[in-house]
Amino acid sequence: MNANPVSKQDQPRVVLSARGLGKDFSGFTAVNNVDLDVHHARIHALIGPNGAGKTTVFNLLTKFLQPTRGNITLLGTDITSMKPDRVARMGLVRSFQISAVFPHLTVLENVRVALQRPNNLATQFWLPLSSLDRLNGRADVLIDELGLTEYRDTRAADLSYGRKRVLEIATTLALDPEVLLLDEPMAGMGREDVKMVAGIIRDVAQHRAVLMVEHNLSVVADICDHVTVLARGEIIAEGDYRSVADDPVVRTAYMGSEA
């Protein structure tokens, strides 16, 4: 496990924070009293046993679910009662645990759909489709960066699973988000893809905040600056990977023999 090169990275500062976050599902408390600070230019991992509430925390942060308790601040604005699309427009973008692309659009079109919004090319029903061509330059840069050039005109449905995840990250990055939330980005990927995606995440984190859920501990150990461990909806440990991994509470609750 090696520390990230700090050289060309921006300075860390808190961009997304949650205080006393809680969510009840008809009597069952899935998330309780979670305080979280996500920093710019850092990769923050959220780990924990299955059912700990990680996906739920994601849903709360991105407003796909409404928290029962607590509040959330994004870039200094209280977003506790906003709609998810609004939050996304403010720069908080997520990926999904189950891969989410637009299957019948080509890779290029997928990326352009994301680019359309910040470029104000979304509501124009009177313009021809070719008006979108001016987004191609930016889209191609992204596609190239993520190694999808070969597949530029392939329909997303025809991509392999790993590439779909990469494409998802590409569309996410197209929005140039301040904060990136990734739910198990490596799940179901081949080892090679894992390496590639880990590399990409490390790169993009140099200029934005990343919060990710991941079970693949070697990835966590490799690229994450900060780890929060969740169990039964509550935070049981926090810190860098080593200190968390050495924590006996964490070992019994989560890591088992693999630590």
């Binding site: 299955n50 059912g51 392999s160 081949g190 080892r191 088992g256 630590a259």
Partner: protein, 234 residues
């Protein structure tokens, strides 16, 4: 040696037009745990689904405990003693944990009782009245396995039971499998997690592009490590 419990020969299968299995040959003896290894998309899941009869566009031969499974309709297959735990787990959202557990009809004597099952999976007991899909991924996986244990199936087809699970839970599942083995259960396991697999399996198959390309007992594991790593792209 007597006839194997499950015998598959020259199995071909298709998803629509795409030919996925190209002549799979494999056998599993009574009481044995075998594990199918292979990279993503090589046809491991497809093999299980074809053997079970869920994927019906297939040719070849599948015999299980004296039954010709090629000719058995899907809803009779379970009654021959084969139990299937799918990759995506298949927990029913509209049923609660208890109902999910009780759902599969008993196909033979000798299954575990509900009490035994809850002893094995205390988490589930705690949530026995919650709707199935309100469980986390790991809880769902446990429930999916537990559900089949009740039916009295003699041979389990397990598709990546450790996928997305926390290490402690993986440990627990490993224990369950060991316990089942000691009771004489036959298991066909599909795994990517080889550390886990080598703990429970007796014999391995390596799958590549819809065929079994290698077969070896667990004892040869160490010898073949290098070869395997290469094949699996580690």
């Amino acid at each position: 040696m007597s006839e194997p419990l499950l015998n598959v020969s020259d199995l071909h299968a298709w998803y629509g037009e795409s030919h996925i299995l190209h002549g799979v040959n494999m056998h599993v003896n009574q009481g044995e745990t075998i594990c199918i290894l292979g990279r993503n998309g090589m046809g491991k899941t497809t093999t299980l689904r074809t053997v079970m009869g869920i994927l019906r566009k297939r040719t070849g031969e599948i015999r299980f405990a004296g039954h010709d499974l090629m000719a058995t309709p899907l809803h009779r297959t379970a009654h021959t003693g084969l139990g299937f735990v799918p990759e995506e787990r298949g927990i029913f959202a509209t049923l609660n944990v208890d109902e999910n557990l009780m759902l599969p009809p008993k196909v033979a004597e000798g299954g575990m009782s509900v009490d035994e099952i809850y002893k094995l999976f205390p988490n589930l007991k705690e949530r026995r009245n919650s709707p199935g899909t309100k469980l986390s991924g790991g809880e769902q996986q446990m429930l999916a396995i537990a559900r089949i244990l009740r039916t009295g199936a003699r041979c389990l087809l397990l598709d990546e039971p450790t996928e997305g699970l926390a290490p402690v839970i993986i440990d627990a599942i490993g224990e369950v499998l060991t316990e089942l083995k000691s009771r004489g259960m036959t298991v066909v396991l599909v795994e990517q997690n080889f550390r886990f697999a080598s703990r429970v399996a007796d014999r391995f198959y390596l799958m590549d592009h819809g065929q079994m390309v290698m077969e070896f007992p667990v004892s040869e594991m160490e010898v073949r490590r290098e070869e395997l790593n290469q094949a699996l792209g580690v």
